[in-house]
């Protein structure tokens, strides 16, 4: 868009106002369309894609305020100027709160409207410029993160691959003492790799982009598959796993990969922070137009004071270096982000020494 030539939409029920706005603005070189009420105005808005909209506040049918709100929520960068016959301060202020850039009282002279439109278009120009900058900066940040993490991962992956060869005896005999130490190297580097990939996951997560690829998902399948993945960990820890789900659970809109991430993180934690002989129960059900997921365990539990902080990045109840159970402290913050991306809610209840329950609700698809 150039500042001097813009697309302008006029929504006003008075023909005189529409015609005079058109005449004045077209003479200035702008492309102008007009509509006589809010409904027509909004459908025109969608196909015409104006830079600036002039809206009368008082119209029969859909009110100017409602039109304003619609436009604001569909594209906040479109400049909205309110035409008002009753230039009371309160209605103008109200309109500004709903995203209007300025207002012009009726009647107005050609110079008045030209001035206010010119200022509005300048504003539009600035908004678009800063939006473009923001997008570019964000892209650069993401590329940078991916690049750095790739550069960090590559040497670690090569090192682990060598350790795999040595530990597998494919490079000749090693003493049992050396083997023990190399085992530890292997474990420590794998922890670092895990930390890196979790951090990368968190840093590059873009909920808008993810939502574009949402599909109908049956959470029972996701739960079953996640449990399958974690079966061997549970057996190792002597923790039992169970799933309780109705046959006809309604689908939700989501990403299978992210939902699996949510389930494996929460079920994984419930196994990890458990005791020998403990259980982990996954329950799915429908309630109040929502699909609910409950993941509960009778493991270690947490004290009240930690509950509000466990969703923070890097927060761990037992700290880092000397913790008996290792972890990055990123799992739950990833879970929280992914639940948010599905417009879900997550909550936790826990009793120290008794167990923990995470509850998530997702909006049902097709209410």
């Amino acid at each position: 868009m150039s500042v001097d030539k813009a697309r302008i939409l006029v929504i006003d029920d008075e023909k005189v106002i529409r015609d005079s706005c058109k005449r004045i603005l077209i003479a200035e070189g702008h492309i102008v369309k007009s509509a006589e009420d809010g409904d027509i105005g909004l459908s025109l808005f969608k196909e015409f894609r104006p830079d600036l909209v002039l809206v009368d506040l008082k119209m029969p049918g859909m009110s100017g305020m409602a039109v304003l709100e619609e436009i604001e929520s569909s594209d906040a960068n479109v400049i909205k100027i309110v035409i008002t016959g009753y230039a009371t301060v309160s209605s103008a202020v109200d309109a500004m709160k709903r995203g209007a850039y300025d207002f012009i009282p009726k009647p107005f002279t050609p110079d008045e409207i030209l001035l206010i439109v010119a200022r509005g278009l300048e504003r539009r120009h600035l908004l678009l410029e800063s939006e473009a900058l923001r997008v570019e900066r964000e892209m650069r940040r993401r590329n940078m993160i991916s690049l750095v993490s790739h550069e960090l991962r590559a040497p670690l992956a090569a090192t682990v691959q060598y350790l795999e060869v040595i530990l597998g005896g494919m490079a000749g005999e090693i003493s049992s003492e050396a083997k023990e130490m190399i085992d530890r190297c292997d474990i420590r580097i794998k922890e670092l790799l895990e930390l890196l990939s979790r951090w990368l996951n968190l840093a590059t997560f873009d909920p808008m982009k993810i939502a574009e690829h949402f599909q109908d998902i049956n959470l029972s399948d996701v739960a079953r598959e996640s449990i399958e993945v974690l079966k061997s960990l549970a057996e190792e820890k002597k923790v039992s796993l169970s799933l309780d789900t109705p046959k006809d659970l309604p689908p939700i809109q989501g990403s299978k990969m992210l939902l699996e991430e949510i389930f494996t993180n929460l079920i994984g934690n419930a196994i990890k922070y458990n005791k020998v002989g403990g259980w982990v129960k996954v329950a799915l059900y429908e309630k109040d137009h929502e699909v609910w997921v409950e993941i509960s365990d009778n493991g270690l539990g947490m004290k009240e004071e930690h509950l509000s902080r466990i969703f923070e990045e890097f927060y761990r109840v037992d700290g880092r270096r000397n913790a008996p159970i290792k972890g990055s402290g990123l799992g739950l913050s990833i879970v929280k982000k992914m639940v948010d991306a599905h417009t879900g809610m997550i909550d936790v209840e826990s009793k120290f020494g008794e167990g923990t329950t995470f509850k998530i609700s997702f909006p049902k698809f097709n209410i």
């Binding site: 790739h150 090569a158 090192t159 795999e164 060869v165 597998g168 990368l200 590059t204 997560f205």
Partner: protein, 128 residues
């Protein structure tokens, strides 16, 4: 076994390739290594491997994808099984995800770096 099977590794990390080569030759495969797409294509032409292990991210992040695409659209090489190696995991733009990157999934299988010797040999055995 009549003749040793031949495997080509195309990866720009020589350490990683060396380690993988060790694992594969311990299981009695003949192994060749190429460090980039150009050498890789040359080696395929010269040696006609029975299987190719292909890193996706070499000089450019999609080098391996493109090479795989070329191989699978070339009548001479279409039938050689390809295992894609990825280093980038999780939900990034660079993640190789069989769900969404179906068009690239002309590859027979894929593995993530680093990989356990057992898992790698398992995948290879299933294909040749």
């Amino acid at each position: 076994m009549t003749q040793k099977k031949r495997i080509l590794i195309v990866d720009d990390d020589p350490d990683f390739s060396t380690a993988i080569q060790k694992i594969l030759s311990s299981a009695n495969y003949d192994v060749d290594v190429a460090g980039n797409v150009k050498d890789g294509m040359q080696a395929i032409e010269d040696k006609m491997p029975d299987l190719i292990l292909l890193d996706v991210m070499m000089e450019k992040y999609d080098d391996g994808f493109n090479m795989c695409y070329d191989l699978k659209h070339d009548d001479r090489y279409r039938s050689i099984p390809v295992i894609i190696i990825t280093a980038v995991t999780e939900v990034t733009g660079l993640k190789f995800n069989p769900e969404t990157d179906g068009e690239y999934l002309d590859a027979e299988d894929y593995v993530q770096k680093p990989i356990s010797a057992e898992a790698l040999l398992d995948k290879v055995k299933r294909l040749i």
